[in-house]
């Protein structure tokens, strides 16, 4: 299993979280917050990340140059670890699953037929082997299944854990994996 360097991880955490403060960026890959703060200041100096404020929240987000830098780092890492074929294959398996997932999230939000918890449990089951194949080659891919299953368990008490934006909900976890695959392969949605 290939470990990723911390500068790659801090930039990639910003990509995956979209918009996050230093603490949340560090927490994404269990990095040291002080060191992550330094990495982000360096990245800011290079024009890769920018700090902005929205609706009373402030956080980091990638610039267009930062996105390109992020994708170049991931691509290089993929080849160095010999993991490209695996990631391509997992992405191919993910695409049809993603249609089921977004359909299930939409049905859940709209309250239409088919929004049964069983569909989310089935998605969690399908996610597990995909993650195992990825994480066997690149450790940074680990954790999605655990987070998804945890959110699903929480949803029994609070339905916001299915599609909510303020918690690490099933939809947010799912979407983060989608973004991770897209970024790693340098493709667009």
């Amino acid at each position: 299993m290939h470990p990723s360097p911390t500068d790659l991880l801090s930039l990639h955490a910003v990509r995956l979280k979209g918009f996050a403060d230093t603490g949340a960026v560090a927490a994404r890959f269990g990095l040291d917050p002080a060191q992550t703060g330094e990495e982000l200041l360096d990245a800011e100096a290079y024009g890769w990340v920018t700090r902005s404020a929205f609706a009373g929240l402030s956080g980091w987000s990638l610039t267009e140059a930062g996105r390109r830098r992020n994708e170049a780092q991931l691509s290089e890492e993929l080849d160095r670890a010999g993991a490209r074929a695996t990631v391509v294959a997992v992405h191919d398996g993910f695409v049809p699953l993603n249609e089921q997932a977004t359909g299930a999230f939409t049905a859940w939000q709209l309250g239409t037929a088919g929004a049964v918890p069983g569909r989310f449990a089935a998605l969690a089951d399908a996610l597990h082997p995909l993650e195992q194949r990825l994480a066997a080659q690149l450790g940074r891919f680990g954790g999605y299944h655990h987070r998804f299953a945890t959110a699903l368990a929480q949803a029994a008490a609070d339905p916001a854990w299915i599609t909510g934006m303020e918690v690490d909900s099933c939809h947010r976890v799912w979407f983060e994996l989608h973004e991770d695959l897209i970024a790693s392969l340098g493709i667009s949605r």
Binding site: F19, L57, L110, T163, M165
Partner: protein, 394 residues
């Protein structure tokens, strides 16, 4: 049969050619776009004459439809009661289709319909042969609102041949156009489409986002409505029109008087059961249509955002307009009044996140970044899938 049938060029068709053909001839002579064709007045018509008339049209496919004498009159429409054969290419098959359509007046369902309406007993039916329009989009148009008889055009539209709308195979888009200006669009669920194939029409699934995407562009709505008004003017009464678009060109396939009673007498039905006509969106005008993805209506200034580098331009209450969204864009949903994206469907990231934040969203709005002007005030209707211009910020 004592008199031999004749082959009549469509432009010269008169009342003896049946209601459908006679009405199309009126449109054709007025210079309106009607596919070329001819009428076979009786099944006894000489085969050689039919083959010769066919040779003067463009190569198939053709549409062969009955043009009944009682049909399409002012009192009753035989909608679906008489035979239609679409997509035939070979002359022998055309002749067979003509015989089938001519005999369709004998079909029990058509006979029963005639008897119920007291329309006499003539059974041989003139048959109309036309070049088939390989429609990208097609449907029907009423020059009066069927909901209340109001003076506004109501268009039903779907992908492919108009058969999908006429037969009720799909839930069509519904576009209401006011004579005074303004339009309203309600998107349908166009699950399938019918297209001409080598051996007759083929029905196929419509994938997302087209399935929920309004199939007429804003620039097409007024020209189509204008064709409807022209039909009403020519016949001097409200019309029910079948239309199609092929390669950007509109065609009229049928025009007949509206046969259902309009404008129910006051008090004849409780308001609760009578579908109500929509309110005219004046003084707003329709700029963009897309997939209605998160319900609600919001008004605000357009903020065109092309990349993350432009995020700082977004202010609370703006209407966010962009190509697509990903996790980096999520915080903008917290401050935006509404979201419009050029790509995506009901299941896209923007749609799901907008529903979470309870703000209106229109996605798959093709051309939004070029049609909408930064800073202009618009109304986004996330239930109808429309973005309309409004003059005042309040």
């Amino acid at each position: 049969m004592t008199t031999a049938g004749r082959v009549v060029p469509l432009a010269q068709a008169g009342p003896d050619c049946g209601g459908k053909a006679a009405a199309l001839a009126v449109l054709l002579r007025a210079g309106l776009p009607v596919p070329d064709g001819f009428v076979v007045t009786d099944p006894s018509t000489d085969e050689a004459a039919v083959r010769a008339a066919l040779a003067r049209l463009r190569p198939g496919p053709y549409a062969i439809r009955s043009s009944g004498l009682g049909e399409d009159g002012a009192a009753a429409s035989f909608a679906g009661q008489l035979e239609t054969v679409l997509g035939v290419r070979d002359p022998d098959e055309v002749l067979a289709a003509i015989r089938r359509c001519a005999a369709s007046g004998d079909a029990p369902r058509a006979r029963a319909y005639r008897e119920r309406l007291g329309l006499g007993d003539r059974t041989a039916v003139p048959v109309l042969v036309q070049e088939l329009v390989a429609a990208d989009r097609a449907g029907v148009l009423f020059t009066r609102d069927p909901r209340d008889g109001g003076d506004r055009i109501v268009i039903n539209a779907a992908w492919g041949l108009g058969e999908s709308v006429v037969s009720g195979a799909v839930v069509p888009d519904e576009i209401t156009v006011w004579r005074e200006g303004g339009a309203r669009v309600a998107f349908g669920d166009k699950r399938t489409r019918l297209d001409p194939g080598p051996d007759g029409p083929i029905r196929s699934d419509v994938p997302e986002p087209a399935r929920f995407h309004v199939c007429l562009g804003p620039e097409e709505i007024l020209p189509l409505a204008a064709l409807g008004w022209r039909c009403e003017e020519l016949f001097g009464r409200p019309q029910d029109v079948e239309w199609a678009v092929c390669d950007g060109r509109f065609w009229l396939l049928q025009s007949r008087p509206i046969t259902t009673p309009l404008a129910p007498a006051p008090g004849s039905a409780p308001d609760a059961v009578r579908p109500s006509a929509p309110e005219r969106p004046d003084p707003e005008s329709l700029l963009v249509v897309g997939v209605a993805s998160s319900p609600g209506q919001a008004r605000g200034p357009v903020r065109l955002v092309r990349s993350v580098d432009e995020f700082s331009r977004v202010r609370p209450g703006d209407v966010l307009v962009c190509r697509t969204t990903d996790p980096a864009w999520t915080p903008l949903f917290r401050v935006a009044a509404a979201v419009v994206t050029e790509t995506g469907g009901l299941l896209s990231h923007a749609a799901i996140v907008a529903r979470e934040y309870r703000i209106p969203a229109v996605v798959g709005a093709t051309g939004a970044l070029s049609r909408l002007i930064d800073g202009a005030y618009v109304v986004v209707d996330g239930a109808l899938g429309t973005v309309t211009l409004t003059r005042s910020p309040s």
